[in-house]
């Protein structure tokens, strides 16, 4: 993997407003290579909003956010250096798992694993040529998570990654995340159930 270069995500006093309403304010976070942070807080406090704002889907209110990649071969903007897996899995029901992942790779660029290898890591190689519409919620989730392995991007933003996953799949995801961090990646997850990796930075929203 070629993302061992040092990366930093710096968030200072960030707030995001939707319309007139301030969803959250005063979030600060410093995340470096190999580090994982978990955003926690009660429902509706803005965990998903924070992740979507970092991904660039929502305009930032006040505060600063910067992304530094030393030894970067090109100065790509943050949106091209992150993976986002949210509540919607971004998969097309009419297409097979392989086609979905090939399209994901085509759109995101910078390939790493092939669709077969990525699904194999998620222990789903047997559904490679099944339309995603036939899969269960947990299996769909695993196909969406396999996209993380397809394209080489250092920052992973995962919104409730454990939803619909069984205990075995959770262990798989944990191993994949640990690998990612070990090779210098960064991860920010919004979750109610901690992944339980050592050294997790806690970001608590709603503690006002």
């Amino acid at each position: 993997m070629d993302i061992t270069q040092r990366c930093h995500l710096l968030i200072e006093d960030l707030s995001v407003a939707r319309g007139e309403r301030v969803v959250f304010g005063g979030v600060s976070l410093r995340l470096g290579s190999g580090e994982i942070a978990e955003v926690t807080g009660p429902n509706g406090v803005g965990k998903s909003t924070l992740l979507r704002a970092i991904a660039g889907f929502l305009p930032l209110g006040s505060g600063r956010m910067s992304w530094v990649e030393s030894e970067a071969t090109d100065s790509a903007p943050l949106a091209e250096r992150l993976h986002y897996v949210g509540h919607l899995d971004g998969l097309k029901s009419a297409l097979t798992a392989r086609e979905n992942l090939e399209i994901g790779l085509g759109i995101l660029g910078r390939g790493r694993l092939t669709p077969l290898e990525a699904l194999d890591r998620m222990e789903l190689a047997h559904v490679l040529d099944l339309p995603v519409g036939y899969l269960s919620a947990g299996q769909r989730r695993r196909v969406a998570l396999a996209r993380l392995l397809i394209a080489d991007r250092p920052l992973w933003l995962l919104d409730e990654p454990l939803t619909a996953l069984d205990r075995h799949a959770r262990a798989l995801l944990k191993a994949i995340v640990a690998d990612h961090l070990g090779s210098g990646g960064l991860m920010l997850a919004a979750t109610h159930e901690p992944l339980g990796l050592p050294g997790t930075i806690q970001v608590r929203l709603g503690a006002r």
Partner: protein
């Protein structure tokens, strides 16, 4: 970059083929409109052949609007649009490619079958050629202008009606010059046809920028 756009193009064609609906629906709608009009007008062949090009154009406009509401909505609903926002390719170009793919599936069949439908309206050879040529230039303009409406209504569940209201006024100039070029005899063919080409090219160049801006705002 070109690879990304090619992937998006092939993906949309593949989805259209797997899911079906869009293109065939537009064609059937086009056919039914063209079939019904002669019954409403009555057995006046002269009148029919005089207004034939206009009927074909109105039918093409309405048929183009029919499938447009799903252009971005399907991708918005399942989260694919988020992935496209993360792509190194600019959203404007992705929108452009999606529109081209949409036109291939819905607009091009209309253009190719329009001479056949023109026969049902008693159009003669030159008129059939003129209608097909003008539709070939005009239907992409409908698709691209419609993309603006589709992007603006992407978060609305029943956005189809609002989309039509938004897009039809924009499509009026295209309709005017398209029909006046297709109705040979009253005015020379070339002048309105060139204006039609200009309108088509302008919509291809500008609509993706507007639609992409609307899609970025829809993240809200």
């Amino acid at each position: 970059m070109t690879r990304i756009l090619l992937v998006v193009f092939l993906r949309d064609l593949m989805l259209a083929r797997r899911i079906g609906g869009g293109g065939v629906l537009g064609l059937v709608f086009f056919l039914s409109l063209v079939t019904v009009v002669p019954f409403a007008i009555g057995p006046d062949l002269n009148l029919l052949s005089r207004i034939g090009p206009a009927i074909l154009w109105i039918a093409a406009l309405l048929a183009s609007l029919l499938g447009l509401d799903r252009l971005f909505q399907a991708d918005h609903e399942d989260g694919s649009l988020d992935q496209m926002l993360l792509s190194p390719a600019p959203l404007e170009l992705i929108v452009l490619v999606k529109c081209v793919a949409h036109w291939f599936v819905t607009g091009l069949p209309l253009v190719m079958l329009s001479p056949l439908f023109g026969l049902m309206l008693d159009l003669d050879g030159p008129a059939l050629r003129a209608v097909a040529a003008t539709l070939l230039v005009g239907t992409p303009a409908f698709t691209f202008l419609g993309a603006i409406g589709a992007a603006l209504t992407v978060t609305l569940r029943r956005g189809g009606l609002l989309l039509s209201i938004l897009v039809v006024p924009l499509a009026v100039p295209v309709l005017i010059f398209g029909v006046s070029a297709a109705q040979s005899g009253t005015v020379p063919f070339l002048t309105p046809f060139l204006v039609l080409c200009a309108l088509g090219l302008a919509s291809v160049a500008l609509a993706p920028i507007a639609a992409a801006a609307a899609l970025r705002g829809a993240g809200e």
